[in-house]
């Protein structure tokens, strides 16, 4: 499948420890980062979607696995591991802050 010597070198470079570490990094980021984002989003949407809470929980849980799949795709599509981490970290921080505010509102106000 590999013809030119240049591409053969590239294949060899890919097998190096640096490449393997990058792959391992993405696997860890996709699994734990992706799940963390999906979990935060599920909790956030369950509290904030404008419907009765059983409906919000059902909707959020249904969506969560699409969010997780999207996050994993993103981690492996991004050009570098750093970009992948930033692209996952920003929505995680936003949803995390949103959840923190929503939890505060639920604790302060009457039960939804």
């Amino acid at each position: 499948m590999v013809d030119g010597s240049a591409s053969l070198d590239r294949v060899r470079a890919r097998q190096g420890w640096r490449y393997r570490a990058a792959v391992a990094g993405r696997v860890v980021l996709a699994a734990f980062g992706g799940y963390a984002l999906a979990a935060l989003a599920t909790a956030f949407l369950s509290l904030t979607l404008p419907m009765v809470r059983s409906e919000a929980v059902a909707t959020a849980t249904l969506l969560s696995f699409a969010i997780l799949a999207g996050a994993v795709i993103w981690v492996f599509a991004a050009r570098t591991l750093l970009r992948a981490a930033i692209g996952l970290g920003i929505p995680m921080a936003l949803v995390g802050v949103g959840l923190w505010v929503a939890l505060g509102l639920v604790a302060a106000g009457p039960p939804a």
Partner: protein, 512 residues
């Protein structure tokens, strides 16, 4: 991972598919078998005859058994006989932590059934979502593998720019790799809506276990409350702490049946023998997708209706419809057969994908295969043929183990795993191509033996024609399919030389 989105996705599809392939093959095969769970159970309990029975007296017999055998339980469950499940199933819960106790009773007498001790079709059903491991561990492994498969499906779609053209392309004579790629594409694309649907709905079926954080946030983790508010179950009424005599069951069930047109499916008694006992009549799902059982709860002592499970709101309806779609309880025989074929095609997509990985990395002439390739080849044959061999051995064990053997059901499971392990280990000691032929032939012979052994050891005559035909069909597909793999796994010249003998073989696998 690679320059360009499509290249990254091709890489992701290859590796996500490889790491999840073996587990998901087993999940697809056992899940597909589960579409015919009732039929498998009937075959495995040849002492029983299918047929209708009166549900309310059967429920009373079940409760009478539980009164004497599980007097201290906090909840009793009685599933009434169905035409294709002619036994009374009784289950009891001693505490929230303890596993459910269970027994199968004769529908006429209410005493433990005389049918042989077997898990029947439930064996594959439980394997399908917990791999016959510790439930929590097995479910997380299956869920993780299913999630990776979902990613592999999405990245696979991105990889296929020419998805529509590929649909009509099957170049089995061009080259080994092409042929496998096309077989993978045809089985994958033809049933793609099914593959996506079944993977996503499967994850959703155990979704609240995998993703409990919505319930954690909105209900402080009280999932019973969630099930009540989303109209999936009745409220748990706490025990009063003092005993009381319950009303006779039959009149309550008759009153409940008067309100509901669906047949009775299950009777639940919460806090039996307590003054706060509740009787819940659960009915079968009305025709439709959703997993929505009508339920009426009575105070067991006064007989007053305490709750009727209402209609579901849209999101809960969608959620339970996903579960209903996955289990296909709603499906007519034709649609069920279509689901079955789609499930087989899913298994074939995974199997061809796994073989494709090893064909694409075939060593050049004279080179020894590397460890990674040898490992994948071993796991491929050990899963793709090992699991069916285990299943055929399981069916044979059902007929050949002595009927009164102690722990008989456990022995059947032991035969399943023993045969599977043997079928996975033997090929490691054999040349790779020969191993495919030998194991394929073994699988074919074992499946072919099932109807014969079945006919010789029971007096049921032609009662199981459909089951027997399925066994013969599977045996044929496995023997021919394995032959196809051995032809294509060999060098192309060798494959060409061997073609006249096995020219029809590849089609067998594609049809599967």
């Amino acid at each position: 991972m690679r320059p360009g989105f499509r290249q990254s996705m091709a890489w992701l599809h290859t590796w996500a598919g490889l790491v999840t392939g073996w587990v998901m093959f087993a999940v697809f095969v056992t899940g597909t078998a589960t579409y015919y769970r009732a039929d498998i159970s009937l075959w495995m309990r040849p002492e029983l005859r299918a047929g209708p029975s009166d549900p309310i007296p059967a429920a009373e017999r079940g409760i009478a058994y539980l009164k004497t055998h599980a007097p201290k339980a906090m909840a009793w469950y009685v599933s009434v006989p169905q035409p294709d499940r002619p036994v009374i199933g009784v289950y009891w819960m001693d505490s929230l932590e303890a596993p459910l106790g269970q027994a199968l009773l004769d529908r006429e007498t209410g005493t433990p059934t005389r049918a042989r001790d077997t898990q029947g079709g439930d064996f594959f059903y439980r394997f399908h979502y917990e791999l016959q491991m510790m439930p929590t561990l097995g479910r997380w492994i299956v869920g993780g593998a299913a999630m990776i498969l979902l990613v592999a499906l999405i990245s696979g779609i991105v990889t296929h720019r020419r998805i529509f053209a590929d649909f009509f392309t099957f170049r089995r004579d061009k080259s080994a790799q092409r042929g496998w790629l096309d077989a993978h594409n045809v089985t994958g694309v033809l049933a793609l809506p099914f593959h996506l649907m079944i993977t996503y709905t499967g994850i959703v079926t155990l979704g609240l276990m995998y993703m409990p954080w919505g319930v954690t946030a909105a209900y402080k983790g009280d999932d019973l409350r969630f099930f009540v508010e989303s109209a999936q179950s009745t409220t748990w009424r706490p025990a009063a702490g003092r005993p009381a005599e319950a009303l006779p069951l039959a009149p309550l069930l008759a009153r409940a049946q008067g309100e509901v047109s669906e047949p009775l499916e299950m009777v639940i008694v919460n806090n039996p023998r307590d003054a706060g006992a509740t009787v819940v009549a659960v009915f079968e799902e009305p025709h439709g997708l959703a997993h929505q059982h009508p339920q009426i709860a009575f105070d067991a002592v006064s007989g007053a209706v305490v709750e009727r499970v209402g209609t579901m709101k849209p999101a809960a309806h969608v959620f339970t419809s996903f579960m209903g779609l996955h289990e296909a309880q709603f499906a007519s025989p034709v649609l069920r057969a279509l689901f079955f074929l789609c499930g087989l095609m899913g298994a074939a997509t995974i199997a061809t994908g796994l073989v494709l990985w090893s064909v694409a990395r075939m060593p050049k002439a004279g080179e020894a295969p590397r460890f990674g390739l040898r490992l994948v080849r071993g796991l491929n044959i050990g899963t793709i043929l090992g699991l069916p061999i285990g299943m055929a051995a399981f069916f044979l064990a059902n007929r050949l183990l002595p009927v009164d053997l102690a722990h008989r059901a456990t022995w059947e499971g032991g035969v399943f795993f023993g045969a599977w392990a043997l079928a996975a280990l033997v090929p490691l000691a054999r040349p790779h191509r020969r191993a495919w032929v030998e194991m394929g032939l073994s699988a074919g012979l074992l499946f072919g033996a099932v109807p014969i052994v079945g006919a010789l050891t029971t007096d049921r005559g032609f009662d199981f024609l459909a089951f027997d035909a399925a066994m013969l069909g599977l045996g044929l597909v496995l023997a021919l399919g394995a032959r196809a793999v051995s032809l294509y796994e060999g060098r192309r010249a060798a494959a060409r030389a061997a073609r006249p003998a096995g020219g029809l073989a590849p089609k067998g696998l594609v049809k599967a």
